[in-house]
Symmetry: D2
Subunit: 318 residues, 4 copies
């Protein structure tokens, strides 16, 4: 919402939620001075005065509303997990429930703009990637598509700030439990693995996410094995060519710190090759590029706004 | 020194340093109330009234003194890098200087007590492992020695608190540059790689260290590929058997947080297998198990003190 | 419990709680490796095999048990608020409930050992001070008792680490809400104000507590107005004389950092005078000196153990 | 510079520095992608193609250049300390050097826009307040000017994030020395005291600054004594009337967290009265309202831009 407020071609007209319905946004988040009151999601009728609706609901809760918005011609941009996987059977295995709108799966475009731009521009339903897949895929795809790496030996070590765990209160996010430590979770068992693999043309990912004692940002350290010898120059060139047209992606010459992208939709990318091993490190802000920012980037493409509109704010450092 | 103070069979008699020589320890470190004054290292004659000397010097600075202490029968425990590598040629490549006491290389015992106990008990010169090798080897060796894993596909993602970078002032350790981010460094190029590989019987390690915004602790996430199918039970049993006799190692059933070992010489170990992939995560306190604590553990074995003497202090949490 | 484990004259025999009853301590706190199982407080009969019982219950929950332990001759050391205030009417106003054991109020000794040692040595019921009163009183009392300061112009600005708020999950202690900020709370309205003032012989305190983004420690910045001119030497001498016999209190010559006392029962004290203004700064670890450590110090005095027994562990820095 | 980049009526044309001269801004600060190269301050001739020059130099280093810019009609906005004090003799005592341009002292307008707007609008030389005086004065002046408080009993407890100490490397800002603690410094002896008192019409301030383990923000807890009884409503009304016309100041109904103003030029203000004591708490971002942002606010007034131009960016939370 903070990002849309600075977008010149949009106006936030309505917001709905469940547990905090009835509250003023400015009371829920003291840093915002907004008078908008959260409507109760289960009470709201179909909004007809909007061009685009953003959803950010837990798995399974979008099935009733999404088809109705699509029917009336509203563009739907979903930040939740409901339309990311193509296969309803896989969805059932991963999320433990039947998919209630499988037609949506077929129709949805995966909203990773640098890699799905052509279909994204014509999309009516966008499935925004999860934060970890965003960081991982931005680093893997240039080399996978170029045929440089083995598909069966990809390791992704994900390092996320605490906001990756949401605003719910848990022991893991209680300050004294994490501020002086670091923690892996869902080892080899995270729901983002099938999402990543779906985009990797048969590739397999070994993925372990970690919770880090800072707020925003995901650093993904990606370990790959080369199919054939590549020089550092070829590696760098592969990155540069993959992202030549993206205003958000920047190859950096020393390992990136997540603080360099904080508050932005940018992706900082670093690569290092040694013998047949390739390490790629990507830094994103999980709350912008890994969520709301990438969603706005998708909206900008669909509606023909400038791709950077509302997303030009520089990083806040420190 | 804080650890030795609580050891019942030792007394710290002297300390020497270079840049802070002449200062009272209690002034350099306000949390210690010690009147001991740091002698100037380059001025001190050979101390003859000590049974054991601990060295913690930068590469190349121990060559003059170590042989003289060994000659007079004093046990030398070196926390620096000078005696960790067996091959003087490799030492030259890694540290960029000629080894000045190659006889020491042959004689030194690598001070990873759980894996080198027999020779350690009779050692006169101990080369204490670096902090990253400690965390990595404790997780890899059980499976490598059991023949469960491929030697050529080991990935170690190291996550160290800021104290891993020492007390020197650098931009990387300036609070505002790191407190809200995370950073890789020396990608595929860290001096601890040859040290790890030397202990892996021909194994190769792909290693990237990271600096994390907390003080103490190293979490090592180790990605391995199984040679043959292993059940989770076999994996857990391999750990339990490897460390049956160690009072410091504990297998944990959920991924460890470095806060659980803070201030201790303990190693927390977690393993998870899935198809042919094995992930092992180890947590240590880099300032204790990765340095002074492990050195004291070595001393305890050499002098026949109880292995835990001076090392029983529980973790400080939070 | 971690402290008692290192105490040579005690053994923890039983622990009881309510919400986590039935759990192993080692599961609740991964840094402890204890097999003791928490008994259900409401189920436990009167324990008769103990010499001393520590209570740490919310206001009002100790009234049933404390008198019964006192009757059977067990020493009771209460870390909760039930016996800190002398006046039952004041207790009612502050805690909103009737005091259920007013005889206890009369009998209880306030457990600030440096200031109540004589009566403490003979106590059967100890009311351990709150963490903020401990930090404040240790800084105010030397000057108040010496008659150096005005009683009506004492300002205490309290700065507590997050553990001061307990292990309950709240939005205030959710990592992203506090890790990059600082927050006052209960402005001029904290329950520790009457407790402080009760010890100040009619003095009045203006007190504001703050929550800081670190774990352990309270820094109390105390602003006082001198009754008559005092030199810096007189001020320092007042401190030294007040605490000459305490092994835990140390006057420091530059402003203390809470990290210098972390994990200890120590109090670091700094004073600076300028014209008629006196600023005193005290640093304590709220979880040790502000709670369990001070309770053990009281026990040591009552039972004639050495005052430092179980409390000699040095500060963990960093 | 990051702020000016988003200002619609300005263009950054040149930057000069000393120690890092010759570097690209984008290399010094990876979060900025700017190609501007830092010119060497001592080499640059008088720039004639600029309407306004911002200075941010250590004490004493502006005397050569400022008069020359003023002579050629360029507006000078100084973020350094050289023109904040009115009295050259006081300047000499506080900064230990002779003032080299006393005419500037007379001419300079103190750039606290909410309190000096009239003269600021016509200023040619602006002395931007220090960060601590900004936070303190915004909280004190409403009550001092209204005659509600005693001038001789004002206590300001300042709590600053680490960036308040600058980008120079010091032991105090080394991550492990501060991340888990809090520290007072320059007790009763900070250079900002005379600056504050100069604005208080004879009032005296007892001030202690503290360094806190977070990056941006100053929380000022201000303790005052009322001259006459005031209700909470009168207190709140005094604030509201003082800042009725400022788009940046907001009275909040619960104690503010510095995170609520992070990245903004806003001031959050909270007041609580009890008997004859008044506590006011202000929160600012020291790097924006306490420095560059307030400077731009001054420029906006002088040049007749909208007061908020370039300063509308919302807080980054978390």
């Amino acid at each position: 919402m903070s990002l849309l407020a600075s977008h010149r071609s949009t106006r936030v007209v309505r917001l709905a939620g469940e547990s905090k319905a009835g509250s003023r946004i400015g009371d829920l988040f003291p840093h915002l001075d907004s008078p908008v009151v959260l409507e109760k999601l289960s009470d709201v009728p179909l909004w007809t005065d909007v061009d685009v609706v953003f959803f950010a609901l837990p798995a399974g809760q979008s099935f009733a509303l999404v088809p109705r918005y699509l029917e009336q011609g509203t563009v739907v941009i979903d930040l939740g997990p409901d339309y990311r996987l193509k296969d309803p059977e896989l969805y059932r295995r991963v999320y433990g429930l039947e998919h209630g709108y499988p037609e949506g799966l077929a129709q949805a475009v995966y909203g990773l703009p640098e890699w799905t731009a052509d279909s994204l521009d014509k999309a009516r339903l966008v499935a925004c990637p999860g934060c970890f897949p965003t960081g991982a895929l931005m680093g893997i795809l240039p080399f996978l598509r170029a045929g440089h790496i083995r598909r069966d030996m990809i390791v992704v070590d994900g390092k996320s700030g605490i906001t990756g765990a949401g605003r719910s209160l848990t022991l893991e996010t209680h300050f004294p439990e994490i501020s002086e430590g670091v923690l892996a979770y869902k080892v080899l068992d995270h729901r983002h693995i099938p999402e990543m693999e779906q985009c990797l043309d048969g590739g397999k990912v070994t993925f372990v996410p970690h919770l880090m004692p800072f707020n925003r940002g995901i650093l993904s350290t990606i370990y790959m094995v080369l199919e054939h010898p590549c020089s550092q120059e070829e590696i760098d060139r592969t990155i540069d060519e993959s992202y030549r047209e993206s205003p958000f992606v920047r190859r950096v010459s020393s390992p990136p710190n997540t603080m360099g992208v904080r508050g932005t939709n940018n992706v900082h990318l670093y690569a290092k090759v040694r013998e047949n091993r390739l390490v790629v490190i990507t830094a994103i802000d999980n709350l912008v590029r890994g969520a709301a920012g990438q969603a706005i980037q998708a909206m900008n493409r669909i509606f023909g706004f400038g791709e950077q509109e509302g997303l030009t704010r520089g990083a806040l450092f420190p």
